[in-house]
C-alpha cells in the first residue's frame, strides 16, 4: 500500500467468494411481478399452449447450456442442479397439470405454471428431508425461468454495457449462473451465506462476492457509485477517494491477470508436474481407481500413482468367483491401462477384496452365507475378516496380483481392509509370505520392493497404530469408514449423516494420532476418501504429516493447485489449529478462513 493513501472506511460483511473488486454499482431489482390468475377465452387456449411450448423449449435449452457450462468449469453439483431443473420442465406429471389448468380452467400459461410449481414445491418442502426440500426451490426457479419468457422478458439477465458490481437483495442459482461474468466484477447481496448454491457458483466463476450487507444500502446506493468489496476478508468499502480507487483498481487488475495465468497453468502444469507446497515440499497425489477406464484417466490427469485400487469391481455382481487366471488377466490389463498413460509414477496400492457391509457379493454367499442376513453388516463379516475365514480366496487373489506385477513394470503395494487387531495383521502377513514362497518355489522372480500395508478404518486400528506400525510398511487411512466407525454414524443413513460435519474434531484427532505413529516408526501414511479430495482438507492433511493423498481422478488437478497455493508451514499451522477445534463448526470456519 502506498503511504499517502488513507485507509478507506470498511464495513465488515460475510466473505462469500474471494478476491478484491472495485467498480460502479448496478442495482439489480428483481422483477417480482406477482402473476395473477388472469383468465383467457376458449379461443385463446390453442395459442396459449403454443406459447407455453415455445417458452419451455427456450428455457430447457438454456438450462442444458448452463449445466454444460457448470460441468466444464468443474462445478459438478451445480451442473446437476441445472440438469435436474431441465427435467422438471419436461416432467409429464407437472405438464399435465399445467395443461389442465389452461384448457379446463382457462388460466394463462404463466399463471398455470406458477400455481402448479408452487404446489409441487410445497409438497417437496413438506417431506421430512432437508436436502429434498430444497429441491422445491429448484422447481420454482425453473418455473420462474419459463414465466419470464411467457411475460415477454426476453432478457433473463440484466444488460450491462460495462463491468459493474452487482448489488441485489438476493440471487437465485440461475441468476448467478446467468450473469455474463465478463461484465460482473463483484456481487453484493443482503441475504446468502458461504454454502449456498449461488455462493458456490460465484466461486466457480471466480467472481468476488460478499453477503450480509445492510438492506438499507439498496436504497442508499446509487447506480454508478464506485464501491469496492473484499470477498476474501469480507469488507465493503464506500466513499473512496481517487488514491484509494487507484489502489483497489491496481489490486483487482493484478489479481485478474494472476487468475488467468493460474487457470491456464494449472491444467497443463499439474498434469505433468508432481505435487508440492509453494515452498517445494513434495506430497504425493494419487488416484482412487476401480477399473481400467478410471486407471487410464488417472494416468492422464497426472496421478503420481494409484493410492487405492479397489478390486471389488473385478468381482462385481457375478454369481461365481473369477478364477486365478481371470483375475491375473484383469490385473495385468488394469496395471497397463495406468502405466501406459501415467508419467509421474508407477506405484499401485492394491486393496485386497473388501467385501461385506454395503458391498454385497453374490459369489461369496455359497462360501460364507448371505451377508445381508447379519443384523449389523457394517460391524459384521467384512474385509480382512472374510480373508481369514476363507483363506484360499485371499491366497488366490495374492497369487494373481503378484503374478500380474511381474508382467508389468509397476511397483505393487498391497493393503488389507478392515484391520482391527495385531493378530489379523500377523495372520495376513503369514499368508502373504507363504504365497510368496510358493510362487518363488514355482520359479517366479518376485519384485523385492513390494510393500505390505493396512487400511486404518477402525478406531481400534487407529488407537493401536503405534503397535501396528512396527509390523507393516505403510498405513492407508480410509477416511470414510474411519468417520463412520468413530462417530457411530452409518454413512448411508441420511437421517444421521446430516447431523455431522464433513470433518469432526474426533476424527481429525484420531487421524493425527495415526500420522504421528507412522512418523515415529518411519512408515508412510496416506489418506484415501472424500477428505483427501477437498482442496482445503487435503493440503491440511499434508500439514499434519500425511505423505500421500489419494482421491478420485477429477479432484487431482484441483488438490495439487490448492496445495501449491501456500508453503508447508501454512498447512502445518492450519492442521494444528484444526486440532484445537472443539466443534465441526469451528473446523469449517478455520477451513474457510
Amino acid at each position: 500500500m502506498q503511504p499517502e493513501i488513507q485507509i478507506p472506511v470498511a464495513t465488515p460483511v460475510i466473505a462469500i467468494s474471494p478476491g478484491i473488486a472495485i467498480g460502479p454499482v448496478f442495482l439489480h431489482r428483481m422483477s417480482k411481478k406477482a402473476t395473477t390468475a388472469k383468465k383467457i377465452s376458449t379461443e385463446q387456449i390453442e395459442a396459449e399452449l403454443k406459447r407455453l411450448q415455445s417458452a419451455l423449449v427456450t428455457a430447457t435449452q438454456e438450462l442444458a447450456d448452463l449445466s454444460e457450462r457448470m460441468a466444464r468449469m468443474g462445478g459438478r453439483n451445480e451442473a446437476d442442479i441445472f440438469a435436474a431443473q431441465q427435467l422438471m420442465l419436461e416432467d409429464p406429471d407437472l405438464l399435465t397439470e399445467v395443461h389442465e389448468r389452461i384448457t379446463q380452467k382457462h388460466y394463462t400459461a404463466a399463471a398455470a405454471l406458477q400455481e402448479v410449481a408452487e404446489q409441487q414445491a410445497q409438497e417437496l418442502e413438506m417431506l421430512d428431508n432437508a436436502t429434498l426440500a430444497t429441491r422445491g426451490t429448484d422447481i420454482k426457479d425453473a418455473a420462474a425461468r419459463v414465466i419470464r419468457y411467457l411475460e415477454g422478458e426476453e432478457r433473463t439477465r440484466p444488460a450491462f454495457s460495462h463491468p459493474v458490481i452487482l448489488v441485489a437483495h438476493d440471487l437465485t442459482p440461475s441468476d448467478t449462473a446467468n450473469l455474463d461474468h465478463r461484465y460482473i466484477l463483484g456481487i453484493c447481496t443482503v441475504t446468502g451465506g458461504f454454502t449456498t448454491h449461488a455462493a458456490i457458483i460465484a466461486r466457480t466463476l471466480e467472481i468476488s462476492a460478499i453477503a450480509g450487507i445492510d438492506p438499507q444500502l439498496l436504497d442508499e446506493l446509487q447506480d454508478g457509485e464506485q464501491i469496492a468489496i473484499d470477498g476474501t476478508q469480507g469488507f465493503l468499502y464506500r466513499h473512496l477517494d481517487d488514491g484509494q480507487q487507484r489502489m483497489f483498481s491496481r489490486t483487482m487488475q493484478q489479481q485478474q491477470e494472476q487468475r488467468t495465468i493460474t487457470r491456464i497453468q494449472n491444467e497443463t502444469r499439474w498434469r505433468s508436474c508432481p505435487a508440492s507446497s509453494a515452498d517445494g515440499i513434495a506430497v504425493k497425489v494419487f488416484a482412487n481407481v476401480g477399473d481400467g477406464e478410471s486407471a487410464r484417466t488417472a494416468g492422464e490427469v497426472g496421478a503420481e500413482g494409484i493410492g487405492l485400487l479397489r478390486t471389488e469391481l473385478l468381482f462385481g455382481d457375478r454369481p461365481t468367483f473369477p478364477d486365478e487366471q481371470e483375475q491375473f488377466e484383469s490385473y495385468v490389463a488394469l496395471f497397463r491401462a495406468f502405466t501406459e498413460h501415467a508419467t509421474l509414477g508407477k506405484t499401485i496400492v492394491t486393496r485386497t477384496l473388501d467385501a461385506g457391509a454395503d458391498k454385497p457379493f453374490p459369489a461369496l454367499e455359497p462360501l460364507i452365507g448371505a451377508l445381508n442376513d447379519e443384523a449389523n453388516p457394517a460391524l459384521g463379516l467384512r474385509g480382512v475378516r472374510i480373508h481369514l475365514v476363507r483363506e484360499e480366496l485371499l491366497r488366490q487373489q495374492l497369487r494373481a496380483l503378484l503374478r500380474a506385477s511381474t508382467q508389468t513394470d509397476i511397483h505393487l503395494h498391497i493393503m488389507f481392509p478392515m484391520i482391527a487387531t495385531l493378530e489379523e495383521v500377523r495372520r495376513v502377513r503369514a499368508i502373504y509370505s507363504s504365497v510368496c514362497r510358493e510362487l518363488t518355489n514355482a520359479g517366479l522372480t518376485l519384485a523385492t520392493d513390494t510393500q505390505i500395508g493396512i487400511m486404518i478404518e477402525t478406531p481400534a486400528a487407529a488407537f493401536m497404530a503405534d503397535v501396528l506400525a512396527r509390523e507393516v510398511d505403510f498405513f492407508s487411512i480410509g477416511a470414510n469408514d474411519l468417520f463412520q466407525y468413530t462417530m457411530a454414524a452409518d454413512r448411508t443413513n441420511s437421517r444421521v449423516t446430516s447431523m455431522f460435519g464433513t470433518l469432526e474434531p474426533a476424527v481429525w484427532r484420531l487421524i493425527a494420532h495415526v500420522v504421528q505413529a507412522g512418523i515415529t516408526h518411519g512408515k508412510t501414511v496416506s489418506v484415501c476418501g472424500e477428505l483427501a479430495a477437498d482442496p482445503r482438507i487435503g493440503p491440511a492433511l499434508a500439514g499434519l504429516g500425511v505423505q500421500e493423498l489419494s482421491m478420485n481422478p477429477p479432484a487431482i488437478v484441483r488438490v495439487k493447485a490448492a496445495l501449491h497455493s501456500h508453503p508447508m508451514a501454512y498447512w502445518q499451522n492450519l492442521a494444528r489449529e484444526l486440532l484445537k477445534a472443539e466443534t465441526a463448526d469451528d473446523m469449517q470456519r478455520l477451513l474457510h478462513s
Partner: protein
C-alpha cells in the same frame, strides 16, 4: 404386453436425490413401457422427476419397480442395475 417387476434396495448414500433421481428418470425415458416406482406407500411415474423426488426415498429403503410394455423386462433390468450400481456415485 409384458409385465415385469422387481424390488431393489437403495444403496447409495444420499438416496433418491437430485442426481440419482435424474439418472433414474433419464434411464426410464429410454423405454416405451409405462414404468411405476413405489416406495413405502407412495408411488410415482418413473418419467416424472418431481414424482420420484416426492417419494422421499432414502438409503436403505426398498423400491418396487413395475413396468408394463414391450420392453418392460429390459427396462426393469436396467433400472435395477442403476440402483444397484449406487447411481455410479463415489463411495
Amino acid at each position: 404386453m409384458t409385465v415385469a417387476e422387481t424390488r431393489v434396495v437403495i444403496l447409495n448414500k444420499v438416496g433418491l436425490h437430485a442426481r440419482p433421481a435424474r439418472l433414474l428418470v433419464q434411464t426410464a425415458a429410454q423405454f416405451q413401457s409405462y414404468i411405476q416406482v413405489h416406495a413405502g406407500d407412495k408411488s410415482a411415474n418413473a418419467r416424472s422427476i418431481i414424482g420420484i423426488l416426492k417419494l422421499g426415498a432414502a438409503s436403505g429403503d426398498t423400491l418396487h419397480i413395475h413396468a408394463e410394455g414391450e420392453d418392460a423386462e429390459e427396462a426393469v433390468k436396467r433400472l435395477t442395475e442403476l440402483v444397484q450400481r449406487k447411481f455410479d456415485e463415489e463411495e
